[in-house]
């Protein structure tokens, strides 16, 4: 009987070790989206002390840059609060380093299409950097890809067109439509401001113009119209 109890104890211990190993080798289960080992290689640096206890003994090269983790954490808190007027939006999420911008771009791609405010906020953060002279060609490429996305057809499910057609829908649907195109409209707003700022290098300016030219062929009709309008206003100046 005593031997049987010892065997049960040893078996439990082995099982416990196996479970612990399983979680230690899968750190993405324990950390925030965008701070996992899947993150873009440019975001990563060898650093300790920025992950939860369950992963702190994990391979050092997979630990995110603390600056990246801090900014993503702040953004996650703002999104959770649904408070667009959180002052950290201007204090912490401004003057972004390249690794932070790349992490935001990755987060954008991992955010559901229906999260229009979240996706638009990331477009806003990258766009503001560009308009204030802190943009890069990678940022412009990111903004171009947003403009080439398929349009969001309804706010609860972007892939399905809404049915109905009551007068109530027409009454305030302009607001819904603006939200449906929100990431694209934020994007275009800051591309325009960047062009108007006059502080772009010739290479950056050419890249933005090329992005707007590409947006003329977007599957999103609203993007096509807005891009045309910006190009016309730039050419007329």
């Amino acid at each position: 009987m005593k031997l049987f109890r010892i065997l049960i104890f040893v078996f439990s211990l082995v099982a416990l070790v196996l479970v612990a190993c399983h979680f230690l080798l899968k750190p993405e289960l324990a950390v925030l989206p965008g701070t996992s080992s899947e993150m873009h290689s440019a975001n990563l640096s060898v650093s300790q002390g920025n992950v939860s206890n369950s992963t702190s003994t994990h391979i050092a090269t997979q630990v995110p840059n603390p600056e990246v983790a801090e900014k993503l954490q702040v953004l996650a808190e703002i999104f959770k609060s649904k408070n667009d007027n959180d002052p950290r939006m201007d204090q912490v999420l401004k003057n972004l380093s390249e690794p932070v911008k790349l992490a935001l771009q990755k987060q954008y791609s991992e955010t559901k299409m229906e999260m229009r405010n979240e996706r638009g906020t990331i477009a806003f953060l990258i766009g503001r950097e560009l308009a204030e002279g802190r943009g890069s060609l990678t940022d412009v490429e990111f903004l171009k890809n947003i403009l080439l996305e398929k349009p969001c057809l309804s706010l609860l499910d972007c892939s399905k067109a809404s049915t109905g057609g009551s007068s109530e829908e027409e009454h305030l649907e302009g607001i819904h439509e603006t939200t449906a195109h929100y990431p694209q409209l934020m994007d275009l707003r800051y591309l325009k401001q960047a062009l108007e700022s006059g502080n772009l290098t010739p290479e950056m300016k050419a890249s933005i113009i090329a992005t707007l030219e590409a947006a003329r062929h977007s599957p999103n009709e609203r993007v096509v119209q807005e891009a045309e309008a910006i190009l016309n206003s730039v050419q007329n100046k």
Partner: protein
């Protein structure tokens, strides 16, 4: 006496801390999450400050100021109820037979609108509670009704043309106009707003401005937003 002073101090604290809550009565079937979001959105609106406003804003709301916005709203809306507002995509509505009441749908929290866009919907609806002004009923959109690029204005949800539908205004002071004035002034003059809130206010203000179909009213509004009134 000490006990009495303590009692009144507690009472005073409770009265002021629940000011927003007390000023708006919520029906018992308003879901806690929806009620909380509305109260949080009003806490934001009450925090707005500025030293400037356009003349039209001065006329409708006074200066760009959170207290003005909150008082303006609670003079018109006393209670909040739940309804589907006759559409799967409605966010809020006013039912004329229920005075001083705004009806909200679950879309207020389900749709992922920016905060100032959510608020603009309920400020638009609050204007519709003014029975003395015929509830600022909307005008029919013109036929044809086209945007600045010359394309037909149509529903992205159904593809239906907006031409002939009661989804426009002639006056600058109806629901579309007052919401535009509200948004454009916050976008331009709010000193306590983040860059995002100001950009959002400007963006959604342009949408509401698009529903003003009288060229003179629209021209006056655009000119108005360029003339700041200084406190």
């Amino acid at each position: 006496m000490k006990r009495l002073t303590f009692f009144f101090s507690v009472l005073t604290f409770l009265t002021f801390s629940s000011f927003a809550h007390a000023a708006l009565q919520f029906d018992s079937n308003v879901q806690p999450a929806l009620k909380q979001q509305i109260l949080e959105d009003f806490a934001f609106i009450q925090s707005i400050k500025s030293t400037q406003a356009s003349p039209m804003h001065q006329k409708v709301f006074g200066t760009v100021d959170g207290t003005n916005y909150f008082n303006w709203f609670t003079k018109r809306v006393f209670s909040v109820g739940i309804d589907d507002c006759g559409s799967a995509s409605a966010v809020a509505c006013v039912i004329v037979m229920y005075a001083n009441k705004i009806w909200m749908t679950k879309n207020y929290t389900q749709f992922n609108h920016p905060q100032i866009a959510r608020l603009s919907v309920i400020y638009h609806e609050a204007r519709h509670t003014e029975a003395q002004n015929g509830n600022w009923s909307h005008a029919s959109c013109p036929t044809p009704y086209r945007n600045a690029q010359g394309q037909d204005m149509k529903s992205i949800w159904t593809g239906a043309l907006l031409a002939g539908k009661p989804a426009c205004d002639i006056t600058a002071f109806g629901s579309y106009g007052s919401a535009t004035i509200f948004l454009k002034n916050i976008g331009k003059y709010c000193t306590t707003c983040t860059d995002k809130v100001k950009a959002d206010a400007d963006l959604y203000g342009s949408d509401q401005l698009g529903r003003i179909i009288d060229p003179k009213s629209k021209k006056n509004m655009i000119a108005d937003f360029a003339i700041p009134y200084k406190k």
